[in-house]
Amino acid sequence: MPDQNPEQIERAVREVLGSLSGDLTTTEISLLGELEALGREVARAKSEIAALRVDDINDRHIPTATDELDAVVEHTATATNEILDVCEGLEKLQTKLPAEHADALGVAVTRIYEACSFQDITGQRITKVVSALKVIEQRVSDVTRRFGTTESQPAPEPEVAITPETEGRALANGPQLPTAASSQADIDRLLASFD
């Protein structure tokens, strides 16, 4: 019963214990022991969760972490755009330089453009981390409601699986970690296999 309210479990344990009377069989004694242990476990879990100050996690730590990550994306975007401004300025100077220097400058600027694409990849990776943090926030909130609060509070909403509406959305996972990602050569081979 993974979704059973712990208060209900505790109450059920008490009711079962209260209903036992007279001589007990070996099985009943064993069951009694198990129920007592279960009751102690529930009480211990409640006290440990209360000691965690989980409200801090949802109210302070996770919002702070997501805000910091948003700021990282914003600052890297600003810095990247400044770099691009400078590159575009350098490209305008190219026409005023001797061909040999103009070519060297062109190659250097191209390399900077290529390197600046890091901002896109970084942004996508941070978006994945923020999504993961939001899932953690939701799970912590669910656990808090189940174990750390009174019965008067509403039970957590059942988790609804979000079904991607298109194949494009379903396959949109963002960048892979370098160890798991396919290279351009891998992709070229795969595409060639269709010919």
Partner: protein, 128 residues
């Protein structure tokens, strides 16, 4: 076959910085007529309204992804033969296979270099 560098090119990406990088790289390749869109839906509207010779699109965008844009393009009688390059961080085999089955002309994985972009554009346009 010579490539017409005066053609209109549509680049699609939800990261403005990436649009700027691709635009600048295309300029170095002498493609000066470049338009931008920040998601598939905006791109589709521009494609239907305009006359483009090449689309270079990201995958992961809201509300319409690059793959969904590609499917719309291939389903459109006027646009179905339009060269379409996917340029994305989505590098899983299943993504490449899905894009190929949907009719992608070529596929570039991010981060990419200018030489790869040049090579794929030439390959796609020569065979168009």
């Amino acid at each position: 076959m010579a490539i017409d560098k005066n053609m209109n090119v549509l680049i699609v990406d939800d990261y403005k910085t990436m649009l700027r990088i691709i635009r600048n790289l295309l300029k170095q390749l002498e493609f000066d007529n470049v338009e931008e869109a920040t998601d598939g839906a905006e791109a589709l509207a521009k494609l239907r309204a305009g006359n483009f010779g090449l689309v270079i699109s990201d995958w992961n965008m809201e509300p319409m992804t690059g793959l969904d844009l590609l499917k719309e393009v291939r389903a459109d009688s006027r646009l179905k033969n339009l060269p379409f390059i996917m340029i994305t961080a989505e590098s899983k085999t299943e993504n490449v296979v899905a894009a190929k089955q949907a009719g992608v002309s070529n596929y570039i994985v991010k981060p990419f270099n200018a030489e790869t972009l040049k090579e794929k554009i030439e390959k796609v346009l020569v065979h168009a």
